[in-house]
Symmetry: C2
Subunit: 341 residues, 2 copies
């Protein structure tokens, strides 16, 4: 068959698949809460805080250590590694497009980016500061931060944990990756995705992946203010459970103590998923095509053939967007002084 | 006394001090070796490698972790901290202006930036890779690096440890901080330094600090191809030796096994020294004014008064230069794949 005819047939098939799903493109801006409007100065401050390892007990771990904005917004590790090489229980989720999550963390225990930003700094296995007060005390030792917090927040003592979190959240709201091949395809550029990616898009819809991974971020949270959570595995009994230790982490149950939430996790975004291997809350699966197979089996009860898994994987690779250009900031100094780590 | 008269007197005093020292300004470009010319593409590749934590065994430590180019080019820690929180024996030297060091590391065990760059990646307490071959094997898993190494170095298999080191060294040769208040002062802008900094400059020369900290980088290496090394302490017997554990590290002796090199260290640059607390090879001194006092006593046998120490410290703060604007790079991905850490 000639490539041109094959492409025409693919387009036809695609038109039918579009009926099955509500394909949305990623907005280029994220809404901000009323009490934390996004401003350029606040974003610049937030970027510095996000990249500053002095927010950790040892001075070696920044937000960026586990959520690398020069990469996929995570650390490409199975589970996060904090100070002294301590390992967390879960894989770091991507910070890219986290503004479009209705809830933060794998178990949804933070309602907002502002709430989330106050967690890792004082988590023993992450940045390990003793308390938010200690973080604030440290920031107050850096004259450059005093000036910037004052400019951004005003007030008598602008360096507070809440303002730190607000600045970091404002920065994170700019971490958006629009114009992926998928977005351009949906907007009408039929050449933006390969034929395989288009087949994968159709199979992604037909297989039922869109039941959870819907909406602009493919995280199923449109209109769901508390986010979308799903049992994982939802269809018990597959060999994958033991192989990838899927039943160990109780997930959202640890937050709600509701039996219905046992092994339930937030449906994560699939945006830039090709850049965030290894996969799942425990980082147990190294490759994306295997993750697709596991998902189909454990969430939809479907054993995918190799061709289908590869097509869907190709489609997911089309969700890698354009990353905004960023300047490298200068971190405020403590001129001529040090503080004990 | 009116400020204007005071300034005139300071200038007069300064003119006398200038006779005692050869004040040089920092070049805005660094020379490159014949076999590693600095090109824009090579620098861009080197920046990525420098910032990439996947060059460490755990995927958590990059060159930048201990030599932070968003700050003073070091980690503001007493001693460096590598993978699994392992601590090295010495304080990380600044990467800024390291192109102007005649030799690298505190003990001068690397002759060039290229040689230096191959050390920390395979140091057990730093980035902890098993071998340079393992580093190369990992880089070859990232398609983006394959493309860039090919563009920069050509050849059949451009990803090699030598080429990695060349790219990192080329990037480091761009990490220069000209136009400090001191440089502008020496070039004729008499207002570039405060009156206290000018007093400090004079005292810095008069006290004899310039005996070692000479030249454009204040590292005493003009014309000395092997670098300048000094016993530390040079004048034994002060209380500082025990207080700051100055006799523990044998320094250059470990490299040469020559008795004359016991406790000898490379004379470090003083450029941006205000940003690199804590001080000395073991990071034992938290504040710059105390470091000035210790140096005067242990290297020159001089007990500095508080005013003199503060003036010299103010002068050293005038050595903080202008940092080049840098774009944040995108690190090459391994799309849809992970490798075990």
């Amino acid at each position: 068959m000639k490539p041109s005819r094959l492409f025409a047939l693919t387009l036809l098939a695609f038109s039918q698949a579009t009926l099955a799903a509500d394909w949305q493109t990623l907005p280029s801006q994220a809404p901000a809460p009323k009490d934390n409007p996004t401003t350029a100065a606040k974003v610049a401050l937030g970027q510095k805080l996000f990249l500053d390892p002095r927010l950790s007990a040892t001075g070696t771990v920044s937000c960026n250590s586990c959520h690398n904005v020069m990469a996929g917004g995570d650390d490409n590790r199975p589970v996060a590694m904090g100070i002294h090489g301590k390992m967390g229980g879960r894989s770091a989720p991507t910070v890219w497009n986290s503004a479009f999550n209705a809830t933060q963390f794998w178990d949804g225990r933070a309602a907002t980016l502002e709430d989330q930003a106050k967690g890792p700094v004082v988590a023993d296995v992450e940045m390990g500061m003793t308390s938010l007060d200690d973080v604030v005390a440290r920031l107050r030792q850096m004259p450059g931060y005093a000036t910037e917090f004052k400019q951004v927040f005003g007030g008598k003592e602008p360096i507070t944990a809440d303002n730190m979190a607000k600045a970091i959240a404002a920065y994170e709201r700019t971490l958006i990756t629009p114009n992926s091949p998928y977005d351009r395809f949906v907007k009408g550029d039929r050449k933006a995705m390969t034929a395989q990616q288009q087949r994968g898009m159709q199979k992604f819809a037909e297989a039922g992946c869109v039941a959870c991974h819907s909406g602009a971020s493919f995280n199923g949270q449109n209109g769901a203010s508390a986010g979308t959570f799903m049992k994982f595995p939802a269809v018990p009994g597959s060999d994958y459970e033991a192989k990838y230790k899927l039943n160990v982490d109780l997930g959202r149950y640890n937050v709600t103590k509701q039996d219905a939430d046992r092994n339930a996790f937030k449906v994560p975004t699939l945006r830039n998923v090709a850049l965030t291997a290894p996969y799942f809350h425990n980082g147990s699966v190294a490759n994306l095509d295997e993750a697709v197979r596991v998902m189909a089996k454990t969430q939809l009860g479907t054993g995918l053939g190799d061709a289908d898994a590869k097509d869907i994987t190709a489609f997911l690779e089309a969700l890698t967007g354009e990353f905004p250009a960023q300047k490298m900031p200068r971190l405020p100094a403590t001129p001529g002084k040090s503080f004990a780590y």
